[in-house]
């Protein structure tokens, strides 16, 4: 029954009192896959991770991790899963090497046994071996946490927003490590609020308010976007947002970095819109066609919910 599925989730429901954190979620992560959970805060990502890590029990539905049921075979899961919570949760007063040795010993292995697996990551931590974990930088903390989650060579890795609050360079390095771990045959479920990181996953699940909106490859997600998208820029960005939203052919307009993204109807004429904006007194107005990203898809899907 294990086969090529690392995580199987079926109709999973979790409620906290009146709040429904997960509302019938279902998906599968294949063995050796790097699977991303993309969604805003409050989408239920952390709840899903805690369920899969056996820290919570579901109210309905079922899930299997590495072929083990998360309720009945919780014990078996604990030795096969590496879990990295969203919040730094190693011992701040233990040094880097003490933390690593402690977690290795908890799982009944020695650091040496699986050193090969963590070596590329741990090499960067080596100079700070004796420093207390609480005194490391954000990026270093995440690397140490990843080492500790990997030291017993789990078959499935659960990473809850590992790159939140980490600088862009460290984030990029972190994803390179994940790609390498996948090549070692470890299945990875990773949550992130950063849409740009989704591009690095094999497949992603878009989630919002306890539901999955789509499960697709990143390219498939983008390809599913069936609208026309323009980027609007100018000197008076706030006024432009209001003007664009009032325009007839514009279906949606939202800030996107330094520009506004406009999702428009087929008959929309960008050049005429630009001239009218200039005539209305806006300065340096530019409008150009852009390719959609995952975030655009996400925003569109959320509207349709």
């Amino acid at each position: 029954m294990v086969g090529d599925v690392a995580i199987r989730v079926e109709g999973l429901v979790k409620r906290y009192g009146a709040v429904t954190a997960l509302d019938g979620v279902g998906f599968e992560v294949r063995r050796g896959e790097l699977f991303g959970l993309i969604g805003p805060d409050g989408a239920g990502k952390t709840t899903l991770f805690r369920l899969l890590a056996t820290l919570l029990t579901p109210d309905a539905g079922r899930a299997e991790v590495d072929g083990c049921d998360i309720v009945r075979e919780a014990r078996a899961i604990r030795s096969r899963v590496g879990y990295m919570p969203g919040r730094f949760s190693l011992y701040a007063d233990l040094s880097v090497e003490e933390n690593l040795a402690f977690f290795a010993a908890l799982f009944g292995v020695s650091v040496r046994d699986n050193y090969g697996l963590i070596e590329p990551i741990y090499r960067q931590l080596e100079p700070f071996r004796t420093r207390r974990a609480g005194k490391l930088s954000g990026g270093m903390k995440q690397k140490l946490a990843l080492c500790c989650a990997l030291i017993h060579r789990p078959s499935v890795l659960l990473l809850d927003e590992p790159t939140t609050g980490v600088d862009p360079v460290s984030r990029s390095e972190f994803w390179e490590m994940l790609a390498r771990l996948r090549s070692e045959g470890i299945s990875i479920l990773v949550a992130t609020p950063y849409m740009d990181e989704a591009q690095r996953c094999d497949r992603v699940a878009l989630c919002d308010r306890g539901r999955l909106l789509a499960v697709e490859t990143p390219d498939g997600v983008v390809a599913s976007f069936d609208g026309v998208l323009y980027a609007l820029s100018g000197r008076e960005m706030f006024g432009l947002l209001a003007a664009a939203r009032a325009e007839a052919g514009v279906e949606a307009c939202y800030p996107f970095g330094a520009v506004h993204h406009l999702r428009v109807a087929r008959e929309f004429d960008p050049e005429r819109f630009r001239r009218r904006l200039l005539a209305e007194g806006f300065h340096e107005v530019g409008i150009r066609r852009v390719e959609p990203g995952i975030e655009d898809v996400f925003i569109k899907r959320m509207e349709h919910e």
């Binding site: 805690r50 890590a53 056996t54 820290l55 919570l56 029990t57 919780a74 014990r75 604990r78 030795s79 899963v81 879990y83 919570p85 919040r87 730094f88 949760s89 190693l90 011992y91 701040a92 007063d93 233990l94 003490e98 402690f102 977690f103 010993a105 908890l106 799982f107 009944g108 500790c148």
Partner: protein, 368 residues
């Protein structure tokens, strides 16, 4: 159980690495032992007394003399009439008035004399009531002496001799020091494990433990054992202080004291752990712990004797572990009792220890 040594090593490492805990478990008991025995005394001394002497007899002079000579009283003056003395009482200058009526001595032998009147200020209840009783004792003693001198038969009071056994000088310190040791064990062995565990909850480190294959008993024991060790070391430390500073050595065997203390420490630390297991944060833990500690200190005979409580409260003390420990500690320390004498206390403490620790281990859930 395989993971127990690993967890224990981590606990001790973190304990000694903490900038605060090692100091607390040494300084806190020392502070308590150096300061508190001097200040928590129920011995009332220096009661200010005004005497209204309406008799001017030899008996009256003898009474006044005794009051002057006693270190329990300070004679603040002999007033002509009661009204003047009462004014001084109201002004707070004196705590008690002793009024010796006119013809007191002459009527004494006839046993029809007007009684000696003692008025004490009850605002400070302890000082008032003890002061009144002390004064009455002085008067009784003087009268008895006078009657003997006059060749009368010995009054019954003269025959009553009170001797305080086990604490011959009724030194309140000797009563308090074993109690202080117990309070220290309550604080250190109850609060520290609770704070330690709930600290892991707050810092999130417990999540990493919960997703590991660590068993419930290993986890609970790793949290408890360090505080058992610390509790016993603290007890040894304060016993040495009690011996060196206050000359109080246990009458009973030291092994018996440590056995009782160990059982009590198991109970307290188990309670702390169980409460922390069921709380989400420090505030909850602290509040619930304080609730229990208050009950334990006030309802266990630690400060006020169980025998003077109402019946229902006495019943209540039977379900509180410290009652058995307080009882045992005083008996061991002051009376030199043995384990055989106190087997009921030991058995009760052992039962509490088992029950509370079982509850603590079972209340640890890996799932939230």
């Amino acid at each position: 159980m395989r993971t127990l040594p690993v967890l224990l090593e981590k606990e001790f490492r973190l304990f000694f690495r903490s900038p605060f805990l090692p100091k607390v478990v040494v300084l806190f008991p020392l502070m308590i032992m150096l300061v508190i025995p001097w200040v928590t005394t129920l011995d009332v001394r220096h009661i200010d007394v005004a005497v209204v002497d309406g008799d001017h007899s030899r008996t009256a002079r003898r009474i006044i003399h005794k009051i002057e000579a006693s270190e329990y009283f300070s004679l603040r003056g002999v007033e002509a009439d009661y009204a003047a003395a009462l004014r001084r009482l109201e002004a707070g200058e004196v705590d008690a008035i002793l009024e010796i009526p006119y013809r007191f001595e002459r009527n004494l032998t006839a046993r029809s004399s007007e009684p000696v009147h003692i008025a004490a200020n009850g605002v400070n209840a302890i000082k008032g009531s003890l002061g009144g009783q002390y004064l009455a004792a002085v008067v009784r003693e003087s009268i008895a002496e006078r009657i003997r001198e006059l060749g009368g038969e010995d009054s019954a009071e003269g025959l009553v001799v009170v001797q305080n056994r086990y604490n011959p000088t009724l030194d309140y310190r000797f009563y308090m020091i074993p109690a202080l040791m117990i309070m220290l064990l309550v604080m250190i062995c109850g609060f520290l494990p609770a704070l330690n565990l709930v600290g892991e909850k707050e810092s999130g480190t417990i999540e990493q433990i919960n997703v590991s294959p660590v068993g419930r008993w290993s986890f609970a024991l790793a949290k408890l054992i360090p505080f058992w060790v610390i509790g016993l070391i603290v007890l040894g430390l304060v016993m040495i202080v009690a011996r060196l500073l206050y000359g109080l050595a246990p009458e009973g065997s030291i092994a018996a004291i440590f056995l009782a203390a160990a059982l009590f420490i198991f109970t307290m630390s188990g309670l702390g752990l169980g409460i922390a297991n069921r709380s989400a944060n420090m505030q909850q833990t602290m509040f619930v712990m304080f609730f229990f500690v208050m009950l334990f200190i006030l309802l266990s005979g630690l400060v006020t004797p169980v025998e003077s409580m109402p019946r229902w409260a006495q019943g209540l003390t039977r379900i509180l572990p410290p009652r058995y420990f307080v009882d045992a500690m005083r008996a061991l320390y002051l009376k030199g009792a043995s384990i055989a004498d106190l087997w009921v206390n030991y058995a009760a403490l052992a039962l509490f220890a088992l029950a509370v620790n079982g509850w603590a281990a079972l209340s640890y859930r890996k799932q939230l």
